[in-house]
Symmetry: C2
Subunit: 325 residues, 2 copies
């Protein structure tokens, strides 16, 4: 069908293999299929091994793992186009070895994720979901005033990972009168916010820790027991990155023992399972991994995916390549 | 006791009559009683009419009504110091007639209330309390992904009442990439945001309406059926002002019929009672009138109250006088 589209000047659109879990797909009406011939093993008849051998581009929808076994079935693969900001589900070492390029969602989700980090922080400090439950459960007329929340202004906010999401978080919270500091793999010369050499020092000088760095071997459990001790018993942890950035078992223990002030969590170590100890706590806001979930983000994501694939098929520089070192 | 305090140089601290509901009081440890002799009829023995006749200053704690009958018992009254931003519970016409000054909370609550307006907007657009319920009720592992929310950036936000709260709301939402417009009693020459002549025109050009004006005869039900029609079926109403600024009966009908996108409500027409039709709706965030409720706000409020009373007792200009016209 697409071959009859005059935009393609009688050239078949390039074929892209879709790699996804059955539960995860782009919304109907997405624009990808007007530019590419999408081969989706979940909806199409079984794909022949011969065809798989010729596949050059893989579109990875959502956090589906890309393992050496996945790559073994695709010997001609040259690019993996991811649809998320983090690419911890893709074996980057193996991609480097095989010289396969990887792209991510670029900054398509940065604003929405940064917005959501602020929303979660409000949710914890000003107890928004807890207040909403208080009203819905009919406690207001019976028990009277709802307990005080905490002011956002003048809070010292430490940002773990000052990439495109972290930078947007900083911009937003500065408008509320928060002071910002950060820890990243390296100090950014163009940034004026104070830099700390490690997560513990950042936590020791922060009231709130916002976790939005990439997940990799170095950052796994970067928010560990020592960081929680440094943050202190009034401290708040917001995680919009990946669940395993935070030692969840320790987090639960710190919250249960009252050694942390609260947490706003969009991600968990074992999604969609959430530690049951958190379900009854009013100083915790729980969110079903939806920091990026707006129609506007998905439109922006399609732009990024299309741009990366078009660049690849026309030998131009990729829009959002992932550094694999 | 206070008379023995050397700070008072053997002068008795001035007497201030406290006017409050039994359920509403300052938190323990407040600083007011170190500066003034507070006479509180609820905790003290019955106050003699002779003493009441000599009272010059009344401290109004919370939204307790000040009626002509209240004033008749206090013939020497010269000032009413309010503890809230809005003073719709005080009969200003009667105060003007009797030449009684009135002060409000000034800007003590402006930042917290503006923060809360943003938090409620996030709560509606990004479905924060609904997502939190989804996780707590165990739906995530069973039903999978939570429905998409909406991006805050690029939304057209109309602010009803660009006073100290509205101005802080504008500053915050501008940092999220929203465009701002407003309607106030009069166009503000120092403000660059577009001004609309009335609430309907503002609503017609907005995706979100944030209600933060004072409640008086002119603004009662300023958000009426016509404004809701103009805002449209995707429109969102946030109210951090007073319940009666919005025609609540119409609001409920519009939400139930799907003719509004959502609402974030910290105030209601008949608090603490909330329309039961709202209790089951996921596109509504309900809050038990706590937009100003942080310890930091109450500290700032005490500063404002002490400053107003000290100014009054030393014949200096008041810090936050309310215009009674």
């Amino acid at each position: 069908m697409a071959a009859e589209n005059p935009n393609f000047q009688n050239t078949d659109p390039p074929t892209v293999l879709v790699h996804r879990l059955p539960t995860f797909d782009f919304p109907p009406g997405n624009r990808l299929s007007t530019h590419f011939h999408l081969l989706d093993p979940i909806t199409s008849p079984p794909t022949s091994p011969v065809l798989l051998h010729s596949i050059r581009a893989l579109l990875c929808v959502g956090p589906v793992p890309v393992t050496p076994e996945t790559l073994n079935r695709l010997p001609s693969l040259q690019i993996i186009v991811g649809s998320s900001a983090g690419v911890d589900h893709i074996d980057l070492t193996e991609c480097r070895r095989r010289n396969i390029a990887v792209t991510n969602a670029g900054s398509a989700f940065s604003e929405d994720t940064a917005d959501y980090a602020v929303a979660l922080l409000f949710g914890v400090l000003r107890r928004l979901p807890a207040g909403d439950r208080y009203v819905r459960d009919g406690f207001w007329p019976v028990n009277g005033d709802f307990p005080l929340g905490f002011k956002l202004g003048a809070k010292r906010v430490g940002i773990l990972g000052l990439g495109s999401i972290g930078s947007e978080v900083a911009k937003r919270l500065a408008a509320f009168g928060c002071s910002i500091a950060y820890f990243s793999r390296k100090k950014k010369t163009s940034v004026l916010f104070p830099y700390y050499e490690n997560a513990i020092d950042l936590a020791a000088n922060s009231d709130v820790l916002i976790v939005c760095c990439a997940l990799n071997d170095e950052t796994h459990h970067i928010v560990n027991k020592d960081v929680m001790v440094a943050l202190g018993k009034e401290g708040v942890i917001i995680n919009v990155g990946r669940g395993p950035l935070v030692d969840e078992k320790q987090l639960v223990e710190f919250l249960v023992r009252g050694e942390l002030g609260g947490a706003g969590l969009d991600v968990f170590e074992n999604e969609p399972n959430v530690p049951k100890e958190l379900l009854e706590r009013d100083n915790v806001v729980l969110s079903p991994h939806c920091s990026v979930a707006t129609p506007e983000s998905f439109e922006a994501l399609q732009d990024v995916i299309i741009a990366n694939l078009k660049a690849f098929f026309s030998n131009k520089p990729l829009l959002s390549p992932v550094q694999k070192d």
